[in-house]
């Protein structure tokens, strides 16, 4: 087709686009903080599905103890599931619901324990939506507790809340001088009215304004908790937890709450500790706290295929069974939980078909939204509309054009032609559209650009990418996930609550190496995550080299800080006590390395060495920890592209895994050798 000369303003616009990055290269919004992708969001696209999910969340907000339910959000590969999840996390006000996106599913853990640590890990993050939620939760609960504590005081006791301003003020209160007493009671009433309002407060500021000292406010709340909460296990946990929230909200003291949530709750008095699983009870109390301020708890699983797919049919079947049983255990055992499951349509149907009736009935239970009929899932559209496509092009190209003069006459689909769109609307997936747009965009911006698009289907998919290109693209993705993990580490978002998550991440790496025979000379007979003793600290990755039942190498992330550091160490050392022995030697991964072995930890360490235990502390740099945490995320992100890329793609992934984790694997091989063996 002959091309007509392009007007000057169009050439200027093309020149401007040439100077910028291809805006169609990124496909999805991978997280709430992923500004690059969020900038390109088209709100109209998937608006109905987003509205449906928000309706579901609102149902749980209105009735926090509503029956738990799994809500599958299904669509074909590349239809925008991950993008929908990412934009949902961005758009939903972080302080209005606890939105947890699980990046793993428990192997050894009980599902309720797994869920508890997800909640705790999210709340104890130093930044991001979890931190916002902790602030919101602590302020709202503390306001509520303060209001109720003061309202349960009689008027004469209320007079004692605000210290007198000098002798005469105090005497006036004792004698009941109306002017003095009324002024104090009015201040208290104003405080109650402000705290009982719907607005989120600067609570310390409000207390200062009323003249109520913060330590007295904390003390009043603690006395109220002592009087009003029961003496049973839940009552004890509530007293400690709510007092921790009060100290955080009023005095900014976070340590007490962190200690309690990570370890303190296990140090319960006998009458509490003897009543059964404390993790389950702590989860109950946390969910009650969320319910009391109408904050729904949402657990989302993205890329279901990452949890379920495996090279071996047997393993895949086992994973499907375990995952679904875990979900059903959560649904049955934890009330008020909204589980969003983002899955490929084919895979979800396959999973449901392979389950027994008990599991299917619970996972495919119909639900109904206001004004709509019952259904079992939320379906994503299987075709992108022309108007959405135009909006998508505009959203991605316009920011690059910026304030370019004379851009107004440019068509909405610039720099594409109408014929390009005719081919694209036949695409069934958004990702396919973006891949083709990316390719066509490149062609349009090269000086000898062909006038029309010619390859309607699968033009620029991973199938056609050279391994070199794939390697570069996936390496970029790797850097992206590693930098995100590193940012989390440097923002102190990784804490003792992440010990199970780190163990799971190490396991993903070990499993990958096993499945693809990449372990080299270090090949082990069996690798597993082992949990023993302490609910949080008691996690170790166990590599059995001599046989599946032999004692092997334990690798444990020693992450606890402060007074919990020795407890974490003690929990790991307890693995040596298991009979028959499971540990031959233990490697503790620690950010500050050998420096951590001091004080009480040193005594414990030396006592264990004295007993002939082979333990060593290995320094784990932020970069190494980021590699461990990034690997599962990266594998998940490239998952959809991996299958179409075939064998070549798999080789590229293997190569990247070897490049990026090779140094860690070498260290792992050296850990296998005990000092006695090394001496020989």
């Amino acid at each position: 087709m002959p091309t007509s000369p392009e007007p000057e303003y169009q050439l200027a616009a093309i020149e401007r686009l040439r100077q910028a990055e291809n805006p169609f290269i990124l496909y999805v919004a991978s997280g709430a903080e992923d500004d690059e992708c969020q900038r390109f969001d088209v709100p109209a696209f998937l608006a109905q599905q987003r509205a449906d999910i928000e309706s579901i969340i609102d149902l749980y907000r209105l009735k926090p103890d509503r029956v738990s339910h799994v809500f599958p959000i299904v669509g074909d590969a590349g239809t925008g599931k991950t993008h929908l999840l990412g934009t949902l996390r961005r758009d939903l006000n972080a302080a209005r619901q606890l939105f947890i996106v699980a990046d793993s599913f428990p192997g050894q853990q009980e599902p309720t324990d797994f869920f508890l640590w997800q909640v705790v890990g999210s709340l104890l993050a130093r930044s991001g939506p979890g931190a916002q939620m902790l602030t919101h939760l602590s302020r709202r609960l503390t306001s509520r507790l303060l209001v109720e504590a003061v309202r349960r005081l009689d008027p004469s006791a209320r007079l004692g809340l605000i210290p007198p301003q000098g002798y005469w003020d105090g005497l006036g209160r004792r004698l009941g001088l109306r002017s003095v007493v009324d002024a104090v009671l009015r201040k208290i009433d104003d405080l109650l009215e402000t705290c009982d309002g719907a607005k989120l407060l600067d609570l310390p500021g409000v207390c200062h304004g009323a003249g109520l000292p913060l330590d007295l406010a904390c003390q009043t709340i603690e006395e109220h908790l002592e009087k009003s909460e029961a003496l049973d296990a839940n009552g004890w946990l509530r007293r400690r937890l709510f007092a921790g929230f009060a100290r955080l909200a009023l005095q900014g003291d976070r340590e007490d709450l962190e200690d309690f949530l990570t370890n303190g709750f296990t140090e319960a008095p006998g009458h509490v500790a003897g009543t059964g699983s404390l993790t389950k009870k702590l989860l109950t109390v946390l969910l009650e706290a969320f319910g009391a301020i109408n904050v729904p708890v949402i657990l989302a699983f993205d890329q279901l295929e990452d949890f379920l797919r495996s090279g071996s049919m047997e393993l895949e079947k086992e994973r499907k069974q375990n995952f679904c049983r875990g979900l059903v255990a959560l649904v049955n055992g934890v009330p008020g939980l909204c589980i969003l499951l983002f899955a490929e349509r084919g895979l979800w149907n396959e999973v449901l078909g392979s389950l027994d009736r008990y599991l299917t009935d619970r996972l495919a239970r119909p639900f109904s939204l206001p004004g709509q009929g019952p259904r079992e899932r939320i379906d994503l559209p299987d075709r992108i509309t022309r108007s959405d496509l135009v909006a998508l092009i505009r959203a991605r190209v316009q920011p690059t054009l910026g304030d370019l003069e004379g851009k107004d006459p440019l068509p909405d689909i610039f720099p594409f032609a109408e014929t390009d769109l005719d081919h694209l609307v036949e695409q069934t997936s958004l990702r396919g559209c973006l891949q083709q747009l990316s390719k066509r965009y490149g062609e349009r911006l090269t000086p000898a650009a062909p006038p029309v698009i010619v390859s309607p289907v699968g033009g620029a998919g991973p199938d056609d990418a050279f391994p070199g290109e794939l390697h570069e693209r996936w390496t970029q993705r790797w850097y992206y996930h590693r930098s995100r993990a590193l940012a989390r580490i440097r923002a102190d978002e990784i804490s003792a609550a992440d010990i199970p998550a780190v163990a799971e991440a190490v396991q993903v790496w070990l499993d990958y190496l096993t499945e693809h025979s990449l372990a080299g000379p270090a090949q082990w007979a069996k690798a597993e995550v082992r949990q023993h003793g302490h609910e949080l600290f008691g996690y170790v990755n166990l590599l059995r080299f001599e046989g599946p039942r032999s004692a092997g190498l334990g690798i444990g992330a020693w992450l606890a800080e402060g007074k919990h550091r020795p407890k974490d160490l003690e929990a790991k050392l307890a693995f040596f006590e298991i009979k028959p022995a499971v540990l031959r030697n233990l490697v503790l991964l620690r950010r500050d390395g050998q420096e951590a072995v001091s004080g009480v930890s040193k005594d414990l360490f030396e006592a264990a060495i004295g007993k002939g235990k082979d333990i060593r502390v290995e320094s784990l740099s932020d970069g190494d920890l980021a590699v461990i945490l990034a690997l599962p995320q990266w594998l998940k992100a490239i998952g959809p592209d991996l299958e179409p890329a075939g064998l070549a793609g798999r080789e590229v992934v293997n190569a990247i895994v070897q490049e990026r984790t090779g140094a860690l694997l070498e260290r792992l091989q050296s850990w296998r050798v005990t000092p006695a063996e090394a001496a020989q």
Binding site: E148, V285, N332
Partner: protein, 215 residues
């Protein structure tokens, strides 16, 4: 890892008792006769013996409809409550419960410490009891009567004896009247002492409550 079955214990959520809106939003005590509010000090609310008061109770707004279905008073000694409750609608449409509280007559000259409890019967949570300490003051007439008995009468007994009798015999009435006329100054002094005594009793009562019960 297994799916939870009916045999296993599922988590049961409840509304934490420390967060329940049990206490009333406001309790206002108001004199029925004069409409004013009694004094409040660190020792409690100061009421007068033989007086009647309204106790206005405003339950908190709750997320649950008809959260409080009954409000009552339980009184300790020296207080009375007829037991019936009136409900009134405030300007903002909220329901307020109005109860009557009466103070019994006090024979003693000093105030007495007691309490009453407002009982809110919550549909979901059961009864909640809020105790309010009060100080019941004897009336001024009571204290005057005590001062009269303890000061005026003892001061006047010898004087009257002197006015009426001489050497064991009754004086003539004209002499008695003369003597009484001569005692006018004494009468004023003893009346003033009696009045001061009554106020002294009151002052002692305040002091006791301010420095003993106030802490």
């Amino acid at each position: 890892m297994t799916a939870t079955t009916a045999d296993e214990e599922a988590i049961q959520l409840s509304h934490p008792s420390s967060l329940r809106r049990l206490a009333p939003e406001a309790i206002v005590v108001q004199s029925i006769k004069r409409g004013d509010r009694p004094h409040v000090s660190l020792g409690g609310i100061h009421l007068r013996a033989r007086k009647k008061y309204w106790v206005r109770v405003l339950p908190q707004r709750d997320e649950f409809e008809d959260a409080t279905h009954h409000v009552g008073l339980v009184v300790d000694e020296h207080l009375r409550s007829p037991g019936h409750t009136q409900e009134s609608l405030r300007e903002d449409g909220r329901k307020e419960h109005v109860l009557t509280l009466g103070c019994a007559a006090l024979f003693r000259p000093f105030p007495v410490r007691t309490s009453f409890s407002v009982v809110l019967r919550h549909t979901r949570w059961g009864d909640y009891n809020q105790s309010i300490p009060v100080v019941v003051w004897p009336s001024l007439w009571n204290q005057l009567a005590w001062a009269f008995t303890c000061l005026f009468v003892p001061l006047w007994m010898p004087r009257l004896a002197d006015v009426c009798f001489y050497d064991g015999h009754l004086r003539p009435s004209a002499v008695m009247l003369d003597k009484l006329r001569d005692s006018q100054e004494f009468l004023v002094i003893t009346a003033a002492v009696t009045l001061a005594g009554a106020y002294l009793v009151r002052l002692l009562g305040w002091a006791a409550h301010a420095f003993i019960y106030g802490d």
